[in-house]
Amino acid sequence: MATAPLPTRPRIPSGTHAATPPSHAKPAPHRRPGFRREQLSGWGMIAPAAVLLLAFIFIPAILGFGLAFTNARLISPRPIEFVGVDNFARLFTDPTFYRALLNVAYFTVVIVPVQSGLALVMALLINKKFRGVNFFRTVYFLPVVTSMVVVSLLWLFMYRKDGLVNEILSAVSFGLINGPDWLGDPNTAMPAIIILSIWQAAGFHMIIWLAGLQGISGELYEASQLDGTSRWQQFRYVTWPGLFHTRSLVLVTITIQALGLFDQISVMTQGGPMDSTTTIIYEAVQSGYRQQETSYASAISLVFFVLVLIVSAVQRYLTREKD
């Protein structure tokens, strides 16, 4: 048994050379030889990652859930007390929180279709091999390797009243458009943040679309070409259905990213002007870090997590595979 040919996967304990006659290898009564060793080595290999995930994801997640119902502070001499739903009661009567919800909804509803659409166009533009394809792939991806913090800083400068954005607008309209003070006006602050966010992140989703496009068999395109389909028909009946799984991946990743909007706000507007750009995570960090109210921040985080779960569940339902 133990020395059966390859296809039946012999399990020989390490150290036992293949040339050893079978009679010398004593098979265990029920289990393949090497079974115990495989269990031990296997668990030994899984353990480091498993322990770290347990310590830094599972435990904080459960803790966050628990702390939301207490009065814990980051550094406090007083013992932690259970306070029931006090934190949530305070949260749901806070007008800033509703403003934050509204802002995040606005941001997400615009970002999801526009960014995924532009990313798909970019992916289609560089899908087929042509001279210089690597150049374009690199350039399209450049904003993604630039950190969101640097991007925010850079656009903060470009969005000034006398900044580059307004100068370009004025140049292309021959002086007709006199741009606003983008980040200083409650009406334009969020659109300004939306534009730079799309600029920074579209390249990442382009890569995911590209992965999907490369997975569509070339034969399908050849077949459709023989049938004399137009470019649009080809996209509609070959490419789009072929991107089914990619589509939901792009949708989910963009949505979760959008709901967690933080870096741009922290660098550029600090939630202002007049709360027009404050977000759920920004509020959580404000209370948890600046005011050290761990419990209240945990409550906000918990509400955020539930929101993410609901939105993903709804998306999954809407994009499910139909017969």
Binding site: S14, M45, L63
Partner: protein, 292 residues
């Protein structure tokens, strides 16, 4: 017909260039402005000179940055933290994926499901409870000859590294890639008397180059770019990473030339690294791992 095709491909090329210009212009603007004095940056803004290194070009802004901010220290911290996170991350995650993919470990299905479940928890929801939690964790410090026990990881290097080593997405990427490597190779190695760790190290990992490259970059980028986390857990100046250095510029009298110089300083290393690995990176993501 032929003319039409030619026109169409010229049109496509034009669109490609348009997108490239939009993607590149802010970065070019940043690099060019970092070489100019403030007055000239504003003077050049209304013409194409904003994107050209013309006029009074110098590295003065960079010298000023090193005077204002301990930039060398910040760069060193970020290089150290990112490198350690990437190296340990590749090791720990690939090892776990190896056992889950190629060994018959009892209970591995449950473990794999639990690992993938962590993907639905966005880091932002964990960040605040995690700050509280790492502040409770024990920590041993070798002080001279005595091992000292202290509580709280706040304001250390390890708090910037250890929570980010294990990553479900990296494990998933390695797992997917390992599945495509023929299992017969393991059998052959086992017949030759190789142990499991030897198979991992000498058979499977040498074949997993593209997956390793992808995981390396996907671990490096957030480590280098991290901002929210060090903002909350690092107070000492000598432990701060590069992104936190940005706060030094928002005092009175912002010098935009200096801001652009600092922004370029912390971006260029990543861009150079990316361009060096771009072929293997973009192609490996596009072909290997990220599929729904």
């Amino acid at each position: 017909m032929k003319n039409q095709l030619l026109l169409r491909s010229a049109g496509t090329m034009l669109v490609r260039i348009l997108f490239a210009v939009v993607a590149a212009f802010p970065i070019v603007f940043m690099l060019v402005s970092s070489l100019k004095p403030d007055q000239q940056i504003f003077g050049d803004m209304s013409s194409l000179a904003a994107f050209l290194p013309v006029g009074n070009i110098s590295f003065d802004n960079y010298t000023a940055v090193f005077d204002r901010v301990p930039a060398a220290r910040f760069l060193l911290n970020s290089v150290g933290v990112s490198a350690v996170t990437v190296i340990l991350g590749i090791f720990v995650n690939s090892l776990c994926a190896f056992a889950l993919s190629r060994m018959q470990v009892r209970g591995k299905k449950i473990v794999f499901t639990a690992i993938l479940a962590t993907l639905i928890v966005p880091f932002q929801t964990l960040a605040l409870p995690l700050v509280w939690w790492v502040n409770q964790l024990p920590y041993f410090e070798l002080n001279g000859f005595s091992l000292e026990f202290s509580k709280g990881w706040l304001d250390t290097y390890q708090v910037q590294i250890i929570p980010f080593i294990a990553n479900a997405f990296s494990i998933y990427l390695f797992h997917q890639y390992f599945e495509s490597i023929p299992k017969e190779l393991d059998e052959a190695a086992r017949i030759d008397g190789a142990g499991w760790f030897k198979i991992y190290r000498q058979v499977v990992m040498p074949l997993a180059g593209p997956a390793t490259a992808t995981v390396a970059i996907l671990t490096f980028l957030p480590a280098w770019n991290s901002y929210l986390w060090p903002l909350m857990v690092v107070q000492s100046e000598e432990l701060r990473p590069v992104m936190i250095g940005i706060q030094y510029f928002f005092q009175l009298n912002v010098s935009w030339g200096e801001v652009m110089a600092y922004a370029s300083l912390i971006t260029v290393p990543v861009v150079v690294l990316f361009i060096a690995f771009q072929r293997s990176f973009v192609n490996s993501i596009a072909s290997s791992g990220v599929k729904g």
